[in-house]
């Protein structure tokens, strides 16, 4: 099985899905001639032509709006938004149109659309290229929100998203593209939207996380292992619909829960996980449900030192783990 980078796994999924189903089209800024700003759509234009691989103007609302029209009319569009920070102009299209299409048409229309969005803080990407947007969209019924964190899941979940009859917001953390490698089968497979996965079993406490924070958390779990703390790491993978069963089962096992996310802590997605555990696993808790998130500042700062101070990392996660383990 070849070992691929995260972005290569996504590229493979594009090629395979476009070859499998001619209804699949790709549109976005620089997705054609340039092959995408990160190279995820490389080679698609040459292979499938400009009818199916469309470079668009810098107009995110138009990109998503066109994609919705395509989806409703029988195509299977994959819209790439260059950075999550620029998804906001399309908020209305996504929330008021795509997400509600099935509901509004009483089931007559679906909106089989994938919106791919690179997100999150990376080295030096600063105010306009670092945002976490999952909490805005996970709030919306009718949308599916997925965050694969391994090359295997990236390929399998993109395929599942393309084949899904409803709109899927597909979040790709920018740090994953070139730093994370993993075995990716060459054959066709899907990683279903929905199930969370236990990435590391442990018995003292559970950490629930997703995206780049999965990798920081796995490092933190390794750091505290010599101290006798066995951490169970649960990767959520799909933020909506949430796999409650896996979350609650893990809490029932370890009886302590820490939620780690990169977004601002206040009203971040992890708050929903904390609330779920408090409500439905109350009598399983042997400690307070804790959250570790980014600080409540308006944006990721540009200066390297400040960016590092901003970003939750393995050290900080290990500290939170120790605190909860001691409780």
């Amino acid at each position: 099985m070849p070992e691929l980078r995260y972005l290569d796994a996504l590229n493979r999924a594009h090629h395979e899905e476009m070859a499998r189903d001619e209804r699949v089209v790709v549109l976005g800024e620089d997705v054609g001639a340039k092959g995408g700003v990160f190279g995820v759509t490389a080679g698609l234009l040459d292979r499938f032509g400009e009818e199916r691989v469309i470079d668009t103007p810098l107009a995110e609302s138009a990109i998503v709006g066109c994609a919705i029209g395509m989806a409703v009319n029988g195509l299977r569009p994959i819209a790439e938004i260059q950075f999550a920070d620029f998804l906001h102009p399309a908020f209305d299209q996504i929330v008021s149109e795509a997400a509600r299409m099935r509901y509004r048409s009483n089931g007559a229309f679906g909106c089989p659309l994938v919106i791919r969005v690179p997100y999150g803080g990376a080295h030096g990407t600063a105010l306009y290229h670092s945002q976490c947007v999952e909490a805005f969209y996970a709030h919306v019924p009718g949308l599916k929100v997925v965050v694969p964190s391994t090359p295997y899941d990236a390929k399998g979940m993109l395929k599942a998203a393309v084949r899904d009859p409803d709109p899927v917001l597909f979040l790709e953390h920018k740090r994953l593209y070139r730093t994370v490698r993993g075995e990716v089968p060459e054959e066709d497979y899907e990683v279903p939207i929905g199930p969370a996965v236990v990435r590391r079993p442990g018995r003292h406490l559970s950490v629930f996380t997703y995206g780049w924070m999965l990798h920081e958390t796995l490092r933190a779990a390794e750091m505290v292992r010599p101290e006798g703390i066995e951490v169970e790491v649960v990767e959520l993978r799909t933020l909506r619909p949430l796999d409650k069963v896996t979350v609650l089962r893990s809490v029932a096992k370890t009886n302590k829960a820490l939620v780690v996310y990169e977004d601002n802590r206040f009203c971040g997605y992890g708050a929903e996980i904390a609330a779920l555990i408090a409500e439905e696993a109350f009598e399983d808790l042997d400690g307070p449900v804790m959250r570790l998130g980014g600080p409540d500042v308006p944006a990721v700062p540009f200066a390297r030192s400040l960016e590092e101070a901003w970003m939750p990392d393995a050290d900080r996660i290990a500290q939170a783990i120790r605190r909860l383990a001691r409780y």
Binding site: N255, R326, Y327
Partner: protein, 386 residues
């Protein structure tokens, strides 16, 4: 703004109470010190007075529920602003050590672990908190069987843990404390109560007809005990670090076996009462004990205790002193025995009178003299031989 009304700690060793009848309904106006709710503890039933005047807003604990002291039981709106009294220092420490996580609370409930038992579980968590691990280890230790118990069981004959109810727990605590603190010594004499038995048999019907209450041997024993205490006031005493406290009044507790466990109601000023007065008091207290109606006043303040296991047939008992009293008189069963009288052998009604006493307060000689005084009284009951 509604203020929480909490279950008070009703006695030094009373950790919980069962909420009885609510005497006020939500919405009712309540005067300060007006009875709010009946509380049932392992010892007594009491009416809890309202801590302040105002309006009962909400009942938080329904009738029949048993809760630890300090639990909010109702919300009241004050007529005038109230300031909550600062909690006693010991209490807050207690509450801190017993702040349980939901999991630990659930496990304790599922395994029938009482609050009292939880207090003994060493906590290794933050601030001495009992963690899941601490509780599981405690359960493991509790479960570890002794070698005797590991013998192969047969069918249903397995060990069964009966959780402690408040009465059993209090009894256990009092007795353990007594044995721990008081160096017990025992004295025993034999009394010939043949005349007493005859008197009793001959006069009880008439007594009941005349006074409307049933005559019992216990009343005679009490009268005799009073005589003993009069002669030897040091037996009606209690040990303190400052000295021996001779009790000025004679309040004799009488151990009563009830379905709910042992109760010890107190006959006040027993030395001022006639036999009939004692019989009346006894009749009332025993009935109230069996009905679970004893008030706090009726069980408090004893200076000496009488226990009468003779009613169950015991012929020689070694009781434990009712802490902090100096002594407890035990009267055993009256049995017919062949005894030497003069040069011959006679069949007489014989009983043992025993005294368990605090050896710090007096010595064996006093104990035996006291018993002999009691014995004299019992043997001197007017013979009704005709």
């Amino acid at each position: 703004m509604p203020v929480e009304v909490k279950l008070p700690q009703l006695g030094e060793t009373v950790y919980e109470a069962t909420v009885g009848r609510w005497l006020k309904r939500p919405g009712d106006r309540v005067e300060r010190f007006e009875p709010l709710v009946e509380l049932v503890t392992e010892k007594v039933n009491v009416e809890m007075p309202a801590p302040f005047g105002g309006r009962l807003v909400e009942i938080l604990v329904p009738e029949g529920q048993t809760i630890p002291a300090g639990t909010p039981i109702a919300l009241m709106e004050a007529a005038e602003p109230v300031t909550e009294p600062a909690p006693a220092e010991g209490r807050s420490a207690e509450e801190r050590s017993l702040r349980l996580s939901p999991l630990v609370a659930r496990l304790a409930r599922e395994h029938g672990i009482s609050l009292e038992e939880l207090e003994r579980v060493p906590g290794t968590g933050a601030g001495g908190r009992i963690t899941k691990h601490d509780l599981l280890r405690h359960l493991e230790e509790r479960r570890t069987p002794t070698p005797l118990e590991t013998a192969p069981g047969k069918g249903e004959r397995e060990d069964r843990l009966v959780p402690l109810d408040p009465v059993r727990r209090t009894i256990a605590e009092r007795l353990s404390r007594s044995v721990r603190e008081i160096p017990h010594a025992y004295a025993l004499v034999e009394a010939d109560v043949t005349d007493l038995v005859r008197y009793y048999e001959r006069s009880r019907e008439e007594f009941e007809r005349r006074y409307g209450v049933r005559l019992t041997y216990t009343a005679f024993f009490l009268r005799a005990a009073v005589e003993g205490l009069r002669a030897y006031p040091v037996v009606n005493a209690q040990w303190t670090e400052e000295g021996i406290l001779l009790r000025g009044r004679v309040h004799i507790g009488v151990a009563v076996s009830t379905e709910g466990g042992l109760r010890v109601p107190v006959i006040r000023d027993a030395d001022e009462k006639s036999l009939v007065g004692i019989v009346r008091d006894l009749d009332r207290l025993v009935r109230r004990a069996r009905e679970g109606q004893l008030s706090l006043e009726e069980v408090q303040g004893g200076t000496f205790t009488l226990t009468n296991p003779g009613v169950f047939g015991s012929i020689w008992s070694m009781p434990i002193i009712h802490h902090p009293q100096a002594a407890i008189l035990v009267t055993d069963a009256i049995t017919k025995r062949p005894v030497v009288r003069g040069e011959g052998i006679a069949i007489r009604s014989i009983m043992h009178l025993g005294l368990a006493f605090d050896h710090r307060i007096f010595d064996g000689e006093v104990a035996v003299r006291f018993l002999n005084r009691v014995k004299e009284c019992l043997e001197a009951v007017e013979p009704v031989t005709r």
